[in-house]
Amino acid sequence: MTPFPQIIDEDFERITAVLNEFLSQSEASNALIVEKAGYLIVEVGETPPFNTAELATLAANAFNATQFMVDRLGEENFTGMFQQGDKTSVLWMNIDENSLLIVVFDASKSLGAVKYYAAEAAAAVAKQIAIAQDRDASGGIDLAHLDPASADDVFKKKSADE
């Protein structure tokens, strides 16, 4: 499996522009690009009343769980998933082997329109990720000068009186 590529400013700006356009077309409130291991990569939309990193993790794992059904059903892949709420609905759209588009929208909005525009947005994001993938070989951050000692005790326990 090819790992998710490093994202640079150019990718971030392009993906953000695609998602903003998608939100204005579909009238959805939030769009997230999530790596399937549960990492939130890009988020666009209204200030949400939920923690987007948490939603990204739950959404990625929920989608991955359904992929176990793919083999049993003799399918190649599931391209999406949908959950209808009373007030808010969520659409999952597969982008590529590593990433997903998660869309949060008002339950009164048309699912058909959201799905239609989401498919276009997912294809555009996939294209940009492919560009990042091609560039990735020369990418990377130089950590050569990082002092390994600085990696000691990254996490500290609070003292008893705190």
């Binding site: 499996m1 790992p3 998710f4 490093q6 994202i7 640079i8 400013d9 990718d11 971030f12 700006e13 790596e35 399937k36 291991a37 549960g38 990492y39 990569i41 923690n51 990193a53 948490e54 993790t57 739950l58 794992n61 991955n64 769980a65 176990f68 990418g139 990377g140 951050i141 130089d142 950590l143 050569a144 990082l146 390994p148 600085s150 990696a151 000691d152 005790d153 990254v154 996490f155 500290k156 326990k157 609070k158 003292s159 705190e162």
Partner: protein, 201 residues
């Protein structure tokens, strides 16, 4: 695999706590969540537990936590546990997706040795299914529940669980008393950061 987001200046890393049922994986995360010192309250996310009504992990526990910056990059750690119960193997495979580092939590009680060995073998099998090898992934062992009376000597646990050419670091712990919890987490973190240094990101 860790995600390096140069646009957001973020490195995201996934650590999975693995081990047999009721060995203390969730307790490790709970203690990290309650006792970790953070500069900003927002560095520590909320712990999410998808558990059964009897508090057994059904899907996973998840704790996002932010550590120091490396060369201007925020390092975000995602700590997960897997359900230990044998029947949830598919779920364990699911949670292992994209794992960067593993903490294997073993239960030190004598009667749990067989389950420890089976769980470690199950981890190796599940990694193979995901086309990964335990030899390529940084991992540490934690011998938990050292506060209980009927525990096996550490040498015996080393023989059972760490009997290989290159031994991995192991820690005695009583997660319930927050002993050994931070030592274990810091070691796997250090191993991961060293791996990034060696691989140049």
């Amino acid at each position: 695999m860790a995600i390096i987001n140069q646009a957001n200046k973020e490195i995201q890393v996934k650590i999975v706590y693995y081990g047999p049922a009721q060995c203390g994986k969730t307790t490790n995360l709970e203690k990290v969540h309650s006792d970790v010192e953070t500069a900003n309250p927002e560095d520590k996310g909320k712990m999410v537990s998808l558990a059964t009504s009897s508090d057994r992990t059904l899907f996973f526990d998840f704790l996002p936590i932010e550590a120091m910056s490396i060369k201007g990059y925020k390092t975000k750690f995602q700590l997960y546990t897997v359900p230990g119960q044998v029947i949830y193997n598919t779920t364990r495979q699911l949670v292992l997706r994209g794992v960067d580092g593993i903490v294997f939590v073993a239960d030190s009680q004598y009667e749990k040795m067989e389950e420890n060995v089976e769980s470690l073998a199950n981890l190796e099998d599940n990694l193979k299914t995901l086309r990964m090898s335990i030899r390529d992934i940084p991992y540490v062992l934690q011998y938990n529940k050292r506060d209980l009376p009927n525990i096996a000597p550490v040498d015996y646990m080393e023989f059972l669980l760490n009997n290989r050419e290159v031994k991995v670091p192991s820690f005695e712990a009583s997660a319930f008393q927050t002993e050994g919890v931070f030592e274990t987490l810091n070691m796997i973190t250090k191993m991961l950061l060293h791996k990034f240094i060696n691989q140049g990101g």
